[in-house]
């Protein structure tokens, strides 16, 4: 062990009068990972939950659409891109959930994989949505490259309605259920990129996407 480590920990232990039995208390607290107070707004049932998610995401400049089934997704994406005067071309996460959609029914030109910044549009699926603040949660992994969340000017996210949680804590429970190790990156995304660093004036599209469009899809996943 390094000398700085030994010295710093030694100082902390002396200041806190550490005893041997304390480690068990710390381990127990971590193992329990008990939820603290969850605001009432994070506990609303369906269908208010979808309404709240859409309202909160909309407040921060995200746009949302509800779709009745997976078959409607490709056409909805094509329609959205056309409406924004964007070419019908996108980089898409190699996610089985997205791959299973009927993309050939549209003229969309899709490339699967990460992006190096030359794709105008990125399409990903979200691990979860959180109604209390209109937040999306995505996980990094072989089928969910992180770059698609940040490098493209337009980010289109497919959110299966079943994955919409009320509060953040529900998402952590689902994350733990995936296995012992957390992914390299958990991204919580609330609206498109913005800055207020010049004269405290809000401006969208600072470094990340200028546009965030969320498709809430029934009967998917």
């Amino acid at each position: 062990m390094s000398e700085p480590r030994t010295e710093i920990l030694g100082k902390l232990r002396r200041a806190l009068a550490r005893t041997d039995s304390d480690a068990a208390a710390v381990d127990a607290r971590i193992a329990a990972h008990t939820a603290n107070l969850v605001p009432a707004r994070g506990q609303v049932p369906e269908p208010e939950r979808v309404a709240m998610f859409r309202a909160m995401a909309g407040e921060v400049g995200g746009t949302t659409e509800e779709l009745a089934g997976p078959a409607e997704v490709p056409a909805a994406v094509a329609r959205y891109l056309a409406g924004q005067n964007l070419p019908a071309r996108a980089a898409m996460a190699p996610d089985p959930l997205l791959q299973g959609l009927p993309w050939t029914t549209t003229v969309l030109e899709l490339r699967q994989g990460r992006t190096h910044g030359d794709d105008l549009v990125g399409i990903t699926a979200a691990f979860a949505g959180v109604a209390e603040t209109g937040t999306l949660v995505t996980l990094s992994g072989p089928t969910h490259p992180t770059t698609l969340n940040f490098l493209s000017e337009t980010h289109v996210v497919v959110l299966p309605r079943r994955r919409l949680a009320g509060a953040y804590e529900e998402v952590w429970a689902r994350l733990r259920a995936l296995g012992a190790d957390v992914p390299r990156t958990v991204n919580m995304i609330t609206g498109p990129s913005r800055t207020a660093d010049i004269e405290q004036t809000i401006q969208r599209g600072a470094h990340g996407p200028r546009r965030l469009h969320i498709l809430i899809v029934d009967g998917l996943d």
Partner: protein, 470 residues
């Protein structure tokens, strides 16, 4: 960063005489203050969350060594490394060593106050490595060669004309015929310029708002997405964090996150909250190949168990700055070091010493707004008072203040003399016919801006005694 905290009185005179700065400070009210109040009103549980957040941090601090050890174990398990650093020099050395190991020429940086605290940028530059700040505010002040003036809005003191001048000077070969008129043009130009830096960087350095003992995750919040591009694109991700950032679990971090953005900018939640653990996993298509956490003490361990321990709960939201009448009048640069406003006036003397920073605890009217708005319920005025006591005890207080307090103490401990003197003064001043004084000896500073009312009738003590306490 080099401190000029010892020159606080001169810095203040300079700040008060700067009309541009005064206009910029005037904008705080309509933005940060009103937005925080609105966000608080929308969440009925806000104050209860503050109580829980305080309890979480108090618990963590009481077991800080154990939670840090657990954090380190989990970072290692996810394939990352933790570097313990006693002081700024050690931390700079570790970062430079890591940058050399990565063969770095360009380093992108997300916003990190620890980076400012240890003076990382000039050190990297002196060693042939180019640090590029990517938070728009930090980028602006890096171009200007200035330190941040606010912990969450580093360039809050600059207006768009000044920023336009900086961009014209530094971008596109310094072509002076260019003009950038609007904020959208400025943001777009910064986006395009920095996008190239993101893509060429070898190492990305970010700070950390929280460290999670349970998972070994480091957490940052940003609105721009710069922290994410900084840590996702280069080969190596280095996190700079101080010891007290750790919390036990994701749930505990979540409680703090619920009050962080609301207190800081009045947002319901920051745009991007990013939890990072270790390097990219096998099969991942992007993400850094190496992950290092630099864990800095730099005087914090000495605060545990002291009357200043509570400042270790601070989550750097900036609410105390935004609501402080002193900060609002003089801005951040006057404080002379990295941390400003009430939290800075408490923390700076602990980190750079009372000799250097003894003026800062006097930069308070003790109005108490900082403590009222602090999401972590830190008793800032009480700690400022502790520093003033130490300043007085160590003989650093100005001669006039020491002499004045000495005279007052002499009278205050001799009630007969106190009553005699105040009665005399009240009678003499009460002779004034106009009822007020435009100037008084020994009170020139006070009467320069307002008149002093002349006393009416007898002293409070005398009235109290004659009414027999009724």
């Amino acid at each position: 960063m080099e401190s000029s905290a010892h020159a606080f009185p001169a810095n203040v005179r300079h700040a008060l005489a700067d009309p541009q700065l005064q206009r910029a400070m005037g904008r705080l009210k309509g933005h940060f203050i009103d937005k925080r109040a609105h966000a608080r009103a929308r969440l009925p549980e806000f104050d209860a969350l503050r109580d829980q957040a305080k309890a979480i941090k108090d618990h963590t601090l009481a077991y800080l060594d154990l939670y840090l050890e657990r954090f380190e174990t989990e970072v290692r398990r996810s394939g990352g490394h933790v570097h313990w650093c006693r002081d700024a020099a050690e931390a700079r050395g570790v970062v430079l060593g890591l940058c050399r190991e990565a063969g770095a020429r360009t380093v992108t940086k997300g916003k990190t106050m620890i980076g400012e605290e240890i003076g990382l940028n000039p050190f990297l530059e002196a060693n042939g490595i180019r640090p590029v700040e990517t938070d728009l505010g930090e980028y602006i002040i890096q171009l200007a060669g200035e330190p941040p003036s606010h912990i969450i809005a580093p360039a809050v003191h600059k207006n768009k004309e000044q920023i336009s001048d900086l961009f014209v000077e530094h971008h596109h070969g310094g072509d002076r015929s260019r003009r950038l008129d609007g904020i959208p043009e400025l943001v777009t130009e910064a986006r395009e310029t920095l996008r190239a830096r993101f893509l060429e960087a070898d190492v990305g350095i970010t700070g950390a708002n929280l460290l999670i003992a349970e998972t070994g995750q480091t957490v940052i919040v940003t609105n721009e997405g710069n922290g994410d591009l900084t840590q996702t694109l280069p080969r190596m991700h280095i996190v700079l964090a101080s010891l007290e950032k750790v919390v036990p679990t994701m749930e505990d971090a979540t409680t703090i996150l619920r009050i962080l953005a609301r207190s800081a900018t009045g947002q319901e939640f920051s745009t991007y909250t990013t939890w990072s653990a270790g390097p990219r996993r096998p099969g991942d298509l992007d993400g850094p190949e190496a992950f290092h956490v630099v864990l800095l003490d730099n005087g914090r361990s000495a605060l545990l168990g002291s009357e200043f321990q509570d400042i270790l709960r601070c989550i750097r939201c900036g609410a105390c700055l935004n609501h402080c009448p002193i900060y609002g009048s003089v801005g951040g640069h006057a404080y002379g070091w990295v941390y400003t406003g009430p939290m800075g006036a408490v923390l700076s003397p602990a980190l750079i010493g009372l000799d250097e920073a003894h003026h800062l605890p006097n930069a308070s009217t003790f109005c108490g707004r900082c403590e009222d708005v602090c999401p972590m319920r830190i008793p800032l005025p009480r700690m400022l008072r502790h520093w003033r006591e130490r300043e007085f005890a160590s003989g650093k207080a100005p001669a006039a203040a020491r002499w004045g307090l000495g005279v007052w103490a002499w009278f205050a401990t001799r009630p007969w003399a106190y009553r005699l003197a105040t009665g005399l003064v009240a009678r003499v001043l009460g002779l004034a016919r106009r009822g007020r004084f435009a100037a008084l000896p020994l009170a020139g500073g006070w009467t320069r801006g307002r008149d002093f009312p002349s006393p009416e009738g007898r002293t409070f003590h005398a009235q109290w005694a004659s009414r027999r306490g009724r």
